[in-house]
Symmetry: C2
Subunit: 496 residues, 2 copies
C-alpha cells in the first residue's frame, strides 16, 4: 500500500501559493455547512510513521479551519480510569458529536500494530483486533459518521534522514527521543505489520489514504483536499439518500406464531417463608462475592428488561440490598439528552460503564433499540437490525475486560400485567409507576413479545446469556434473578 | 453540636411500623414531584463517625425512594484524572442535575477534617477549607440546589461497642478494618475537629442535621423525615418566590462616564516585519516553556474575551501554532447543552479543565455571565452579581492547583469593528464569522463596554490578572498576548 508514497511527491512553493487560499476558503465553507447542518460527525484519524509530519499537518488543519469546531485528541498512556474499562472506552469518550470534526492523533490502530511489531501479541491477536476495528468503523459509518483515515508514510531512507535532520537542529532536537530510534530499528517489521493492518481495514466505509510525508506542502494539501472532497460529497447527499448499508439476516416469523417466550412456564411460584429464607441466603452470598479480593479485577453489568410492571424495580432492589451503596450504580434508561442524541446509539451506555470492582445495573438498556425503538419506529429497520451484532460486540468487550454480564428478561402474562396495573393505580406510593404510556404499550403486547423473543435468540451468547425469568410470582422471580447472578459471579471468581 | 445525639434516641418496632409506610409513600410522592417539576437538584451529604450506620441508611433511602432518580456517589482515593485537577473537580463531576437527588457518601468535608485530625494540616488550612466550602455551598444554594447535610454521630462508648459488635459477628467482621481502629484512637480529636467544621459550616442555606446513629430505626426515620420536610417545603415555594439571597456590592456607574477601557490607548501598532520577527521569537519561547520538565506539574488556562471581531480567533491561532496539538484544547463557548443547563453555571467550564501538563484555551468563557448574560438579561441581576466572587473563587482553585491563568480582553474601537465587519462580509472564508447577532450586539456597544470594565475591575486578581490588549492593530495585539502569556508561564516555571 505504500509504494506510491515513496515516489518523492512534492509541491513547489508557487504551486502551493496558488492552491492554498482557495482550499482554505473551501474547507472553511464546508466546515461551516457541516456545523450548521449538524447531521453527521467527521472522524479523522492521523497515523503513520514517526517524523512524517503528522503534528505539523494537524496544526495546519486547525489553522485552516475554525478550531472551535475541531477537537484534536491524542492518546498517550491510558489513565487509571481508562485502564479500568475496555480498551475502546477512551475512544468512545472523545468521539465528536454531530456537526463537529474530531481529529484523532493515534487511534484504535496504535496499540494493535505496536504490540504486534514488538511481539507483545500474536498474529491471531492482530487479526482479532482488526475484526473488531472493522466492526467498530462499520458501526460508526452506519451511525452516519464520515470517516477519513490518513496514514503518513516515509521510506526507510527518508525517515532516517528526517530524524537526523530534526536532531541536528537545536530547535527541534527535543522532538527526537530514544523511542523514535527504537521504532526506527523496527522499520521493516513496522512496515509489514502496518501494511497488513491497513490492507485489511481499507473498507469502502472507512478507506485509508496513504500520504507521503516528505514534503510539507504536498502532504498538507493532500490531506486538506481529501477532507474537502469527502466533506463536499457527503454534504451534497440528501439526508434520505444516505441509507444505511447494513445487511442483516431478515427476521423470520414462525408461521405457527410460537416463540420462546410463549413456551416459558409462568406457573413457578414460591411462598413467602421459603422466599425469605432463600433470598436472605442469596443476598449473603452476593455480599460475600463482591467482597472477594479477586472481585477488584472484575465488575458486574446487569441488564433488566421486561414488559411494564414485570417487577424489574423490585428485583433490582433485592440485588442492591446486598450491596454497598458505594459500589453500585443504577442507571435508569430514559429518553436521551441532546449530547447523547449527537452520538452513536451505544455511546450513552458506554459512558456509564463501571470501573473494575464496580457494579452497574441498567434498568432497561441498549436493548431498547430492538424493543421500543423497533416497535415504535424510532429508528429504521436497518438500524435495529444491525443493533444485534453491535450489541453482541459491545458485550464481548465488556466480558473481555472482566465483566460478568447478566441479562434478565422478566416475563409476566398479559393478565398478570393488568392485575398489577390496577393495583398500582390503587396504591398511593405506586401510582407514579403507571402512566398513559404503559396502557398504550400494553396494546402492542404481541409485537413486544415477538421482538423480545427475537432479541433473546439473537443476543444470548455464551458469555453474556439471557436469563428468562418467569415473573408472575414476584418471590420466584427475585430468587431466580439473585440465584443466577450469584452463580455467575461465583463461577467467574472461581475460574481465574 | 453533638450533645443531643448522645441521648440514646430510639424508636420501638411498633412506632417504626406505624411511621414507615406513610413516610415512604410521602417520600416517593415528593421525589416524583421533584422529578417531574425538574426545577432544582437535591444534594444530600452523608458523613459522620464510622460504624454509625451511614451505609445502611443510604441503602434504605434507595429502597424507600425510586432509585432511578437517586445517584449515590462515594469518594475513595481519587483517580489520577482527579488528582490532576483541583480537589473540587471530583465533586463537580457528580453533582446531580435538576430534578434528581444526589447522595454523597463522603464529601468535600472528608479530606479537610481527616487531614486536620491526623495533623497533616494546620488550623489555618482547616479555616481556609471551611471558607471555601461555605462559598461553594452558597453557590450551590444560589443556583437553586436544596442541600441537606447529615452527620451521623456516636458517643465514644457507643462507637467502641458498635465496632466490637461488628467484629464479633462472622457476617460483618469484614467491615471493621485496622483503619477503623486507627480512627477510633483519634476519637476525641475527631470530635473536636469535626465539631469545629460543622459549627462553622452550619449555614441557613446548608444546615447540618446531626443524627444519633445508635438505633437503626431512629436514624432512618430521622433522615427520611428531614428529607421529606425539606423537599415538601421547597416544592411548595413558587418558583418566583425563591429569589437568590445573594447580596453583592452594587455596581457604581462613574458619573463622568469614564471607565478603564476608555482610557486604553488603542494607537499602539507594529509593522509586519517587526511583527513576524517578534511573534516567531515568542512562539519559540512558548514552545520551549511547555516542553520544560516542570511544566508537567502545571497547566495553562487561557481566557479570550472581547467585542466581536476583536481578533480573538487570530490571537488564539498564534498561540496554538506554538503548541503541540496533543496538548491543547480550544473550547468554544456557545449555548449550553441540556445537560449543562441542568447544572450550576460553572459546571460546563469545570468539565473541560485540563489535566496537569495540559493547555486549555477558552474562546469566550465563564465571563459570559457578566457580559452577554448580564446585558441580554439571560440571568437575574443577583445571579450575575454573585458571579464575580464565584469566578474569583474558581480561578483561585485553578491557580492553587498549578494553573497559570491568563485572561485577555481584546479591545478595539467601534470604528475598527465596523471596518472588520464589512471586510468579513467581503471575504469569502470569513463571511461565516459575521452574523445578524453581531450587528445586534454592536448596537449595545456602550453597555458591553461598561460591563467589561466592571468585570475587569472586579476579577483582576494577583494570580489571575486581566491583560487589556489594544487590538486595533492585529500585529500588536497578537504580540502582546503571546508576550504576556510567555512571560507568566516562564515566571511560574522559574518560581518553584
Amino acid at each position: 500500500m505504500f509504494e506510491s508514497a515513496e515516489l518523492g511527491h512534492e509541491l513547489t512553493k508557487a504551486q502551493y501559493k496558488q492552491i492554498e487560499p482557495k482550499l482554505r476558503a473551501d474547507l472553511l465553507d464546508a466546515q461551516y455547512q457541516l456545523a450548521s447542518n449538524g447531521r453527521f460527525p467527521v472522524v479523522i484519524i492521523i497515523s503513520g510513521v514517526r517524523g512524517a509530519g503528522k503534528g505539523e499537518t494537524v496544526n495546519l488543519l486547525n489553522e485552516w479551519m475554525d478550531p472551535r469546531h475541531i477537537h484534536t485528541h491524542a492518546f498517550d498512556y491510558p489513565s487509571d480510569e481508562e485502564r479500568d474499562r475496555p480498551p475502546m472506552w477512551r475512544f468512545w469518550r472523545v468521539l465528536p458529536p454531530k456537526g463537529r470534526i474530531g481529529i484523532l492523533f493515534g487511534s484504535w490502530y496504535t496499540a494493535p500494530i505496536i504490540d504486534r511489531v514488538f511481539k507483545r501479541s500474536k498474529d491471531k491477536d492482530l487479526t482479532a483486533a482488526i475484526d473488531r476495528i472493522n466492526q467498530f468503523e462499520k458501526m460508526l459509518a452506519d451511525e452516519g459518521a464520515l470517516i477519513l483515515k490518513f496514514w503518513f508514510h516515509l521510506s526507510k531512507k527518508r525517515q532516517k534522514k528526517r530524524l537526523r535532520a530534526l536532531q541536528a537542529d537545536k530547535e527541534t532536537r527535543w522532538r527526537v527521543t530514544d523511542r523514535d530510534w527504537d521504532f526506527f530499528k523496527m522499520y521493516d517489521r513496522f512496515y509489514r505489520v502496518s501494511e497488513t493492518a491497513l490492507r485489511r481495514t481499507n473498507t469502502a466505509l472507512a478507506p485509508w489514504i496513504v500520504v507521503e510525508g516528505t514534503d510539507e506542502r504536498f502532504r498538507s494539501v493532500t490531506v486538506g483536499k481529501e477532507i474537502l472532497e469527502a466533506l463536499k460529497k457527503r454534504l451534497a447527499l440528501r439526508a434520505e439518500r444516505r441509507k444505511s448499508k447494513s445487511q442483516a439476516a431478515p427476521i423470520v416469523h414462525p408461521v405457527d406464531g410460537v416463540h420462546l417466550l410463549k413456551r416459558l412456564d409462568l406457573s413457578a411460584s414460591l411462598d413467602k417463608p421459603a422466599y425469605e429464607k432463600r433470598i436472605d441466603k442469596l443476598q449473603r452470598r452476593l455480599a460475600l462475592a463482591v467482597r472477594h479480593p479477586k472481585f477488584r479485577d472484575y465488575n458486574v453489568v446487569c441488564v433488566f428488561e421486561g414488559m411494564d410492571a414485570a417487577g424489574k424495580g423490585g428485583a433490582i432492589r433485592r440485588v442492591t440490598a446486598a450491596l454497598d451503596a458505594r459500589y453500585y450504580h443504577t442507571i435508569p434508561v430514559a429518553a436521551p439528552t441532546d449530547e447523547e442524541r449527537a452520538q452513536p446509539y451505544l455511546w450513552r451506555f458506554w459512558r456509564h460503564l463501571p470501573r473494575k470492582g464496580g457494579f452497574t445495573i441498567y434498568d432497561r438498556s441498549w436493548y431498547g433499540r430492538v424493543l421500543v425503538e423497533r416497535i415504535e419506529g424510532f429508528c429504521s429497520e436497518a438500524d435495529w437490525m444491525r443493533a444485534y451484532s453491535e450489541i453482541n460486540e459491545f458485550e464481548d468487550q465488556l466480558v473481555g475486560n472482566g465483566a460478568v454480564v447478566a441479562k434478565f428478561w422478566l416475563q409476566i402474562s398479559k393478565e398478570e400485567q393488568l392485575r398489577r396495573f390496577k393495583e398500582r393505580e390503587r396504591t398511593r406510593f405506586k401510582r407514579f409507576k403507571i402512566t398513559a404510556e404503559d396502557w398504550r404499550n400494553r396494546k402492542k403486547w404481541a409485537a413486544y413479545q415477538e421482538a423480545a423473543a427475537d432479541m433473546i435468540e439473537r443476543t444470548s451468547t455464551e458469555h453474556a446469556p439471557w436469563t428468562l425469568v418467569a415473573a408472575n410470582n414476584k418471590y420466584h422471580a427475585r430468587v431466580k434473578v439473585l440465584d443466577t447472578l450469584v452463580d455467575s459471579l461465583e463461577r467467574a471468581l472461581d475460574s481465574r
